[in-house]
Amino acid sequence: MKRLWVLLALMGALAFAQGNTITIGLTVSKTGKYNVESVNQLHGIELWQKWVNDQGGIPIGGKRYKVALKYYDDESKAERVQQLYSRLISQDKVDFLISPYSSGLTAKAAIISEQYGKIMVATGAASDSIFKLGYEHVYQIYTPASRYLTGTLDMLRAADAKLKKIAIVYEDSKFAKAVATAAKAYAQKKGFDVVLFEGYPKSTTDFGPIINKIKAAGAEALVGGGHYADGATFARQLYEQKVPLKMIALLVAPASDEFAQLGDAALGVVAPSQWEPLVKYQQTCGPSPAQFTKMYQDAYGKLPAYRAAGGFAAGLVLQRALMDAGTTDPAKVKAALDAMDVTIFFGHIKFSTDPASHGLQLGHEMVQIQWQKKGGQLAKQIVWPLGAKTADLVYPIR
């Protein structure tokens, strides 16, 4: 089975000599549809590894443990994930696990981690449902899908107390549908009138029919979207069709830097983001957001995307739990994770301990970004929460 794995663990000779090494296993989508996001996430994890090893390792119960990573390419495919996680646990004897990228792959890996009672920190996976299946060893870093758009709606309500009619239009995928369903309930609670609630098929490129419906329903604001490709197209066609919306908030797509390629069509579009380099969280452990951003820039020559930050955060949370536990004993580490309530550069981290939703992220909040013109240039600004903002929300946009 040599063909399957690519060993990238960089183990210091010292660590070998002392024998104090913690091995963390994961799969990375080096190929396939999650390639870009997953490799980004890996960069964050590797940066954390380097950071912690440069400090001499993780201090646990008076000893220092170096961190080794072991990962394989899962090809973005579900069928490889279970095979490789089984291998990581039973053959490579890794100590802890980090999830693959995406909720779909994480769900498959979770069955294996649960089978062996291995702790798995899940990053790049925003699904709620994985954490409602009764798993006891999976911990979520991201804000779950159910709270993706709640901040957006809070912001909209704060900007316009009178606005009633909103449209929720989402990609018919597991993630976007979960987000939209939760957003609908929250919108109704907030006193919005959801005049259109509809999904569009995954490969949609022609948003004409949907846009006609948005117009027909007389929606004043739009929240929804799905992933990058559909979101960018949706924004472009909304602009071309001159749909009179006061706010457009889309998932994922506007949070990417490439979104600027849309030009004027990008202007004013809002997106929830897990994390942005400009956020100002007051961390109680680990690097500050600015320190992390600098470290990342030094290492990779560009600004970190939230996926990279999520990767680093996953390592940091595990590190924190090990330090709190003072031992590598899985049961104690699990107890430390259950009890965790910290703020790191990525934001507030606290897990649900309710058996019905064990491991679900409760603390972390989304930030809202908006594309604005700054000195003639399109730029992302943080507009919500107010404590973290870098600019005021532009409202209405049209």
Partner: protein, 284 residues
């Protein structure tokens, strides 16, 4: 009500482009009984062709002419390599060989362009007609589809070569007996079918973003449209495309968009079962 009209108009315009794609598929089937499973991949190639030409400074609408020529040449090559040796074998063989061509195109395309979306960013104006907003690109695409179809009809019914294509489609052996080099005609027909697919891809690329995988959905729509119109019947395929577009446009206001595909495929299977020669009569 105006929204419904807008939706129907949208459907009509895009339906013409579906129709053009379907003609490419149905022409090849009509002439040589080959269901070209590389159709979708070729549509995607058309998208990238116009994208590359645009990148080289050619206006997308001028690029169409070049795309058509590339399509013709490419189709002839595909025919000679993958279809000709097994043209008389059972249908499974040509289905599989054209599918393998599709795998090769998509494989190379993925290696070169990955599967991320591309756009042909050229200035598009917005027109208001009867209080409804339409982009110039949509109008031009529909018009181009009609023009290309007209041109194809002129070719098939007014030129000797075009008539030879129809003769070979009617009776390959008799055509050969009359001195018509049937293999050349088959190669040319495959080339034309491919050129039409690439043209429709190029037109779609002026409307929507695309990836190397985008051809798949239009391939399926081409199947539906050409079966609606009767496999092997180019006029039928154009009408099939329009019907498909109109169905999409007219049901969209009343049901969830995501049900449109279900309706289309159910119609597809039902038509195959109960009107196997399509609504306009095809060749069996």
């Amino acid at each position: 009500m105006p929204e419904i009209l807008a939706s129907v108009l949208d459907g009509l315009l895009i339906g013409l482009v579906y129709g053009l794609a379907a003609i490419g598929l149905t022409l090849i089937f009509g002439v040589m009984d080959v269901v070209n499973l590389a159709h979708g991949a070729v549509i995607a190639l058309g998208m990238f062709a116009v994208y590359l030409l645009f990148g080289a400074g050619l206006h997308p609408y001028l690029g169409l002419f070049v795309v058509a020529l590339i399509g013709l040449a490419f189709g002839v090559v595909v025919y000679l390599v993958a279809v000709r040796p097994i043209i008389n074998a059972p249908p499974l063989m040509t289905l599989l060989s054209t599918f393998s061509v599709s795998m090769i195109i998509i494989g190379v395309g993925t290696a070169v362009w990955s599967t991320s979306p591309y756009n042909v960013n050229f200035p598009v104006t917005t027109l208001r007609i009867l209080g409804y907003t339409v982009t110039s690109a949509r109008l031009v695409a529909a018009l181009a589809a009609v023009l290309v179809t007209g041109f194809l009809y002129y070719f098939l019914y007014r030129t000797t070569l075009g008539k030879a294509v129809r003769a070979v489609a009617n009776n390959r052996e008799a055509a050969e007996l009359m001195g018509i080099p049937s293999q050349q005609i088959l190669a040319i027909s495959f080339g034309i079918g491919t050129a039409l697919a690439m043209l429709s891809g190029a037109l779609i690329a002026t409307l929507f973003p695309f990836t190397i995988l985008s051809g798949g959905i239009y391939e399926l729509k081409s199947f539906v449209a050409s079966v609606l119109g009767g496999l092997g019947n180019p006029t039928g395929a154009l009408f099939g495309g329009v019907i498909l577009g109109l169905i999409e446009g007219s049901v969209a206001p009343f049901i969830k968009i995501s049900w449109t595909n279900v309706i289309e495929f159910v119609i597809f299977v039902l038509i195959l079962l109960f009107f196997p020669t399509g609504l306009f009569g095809g060749r069996r």
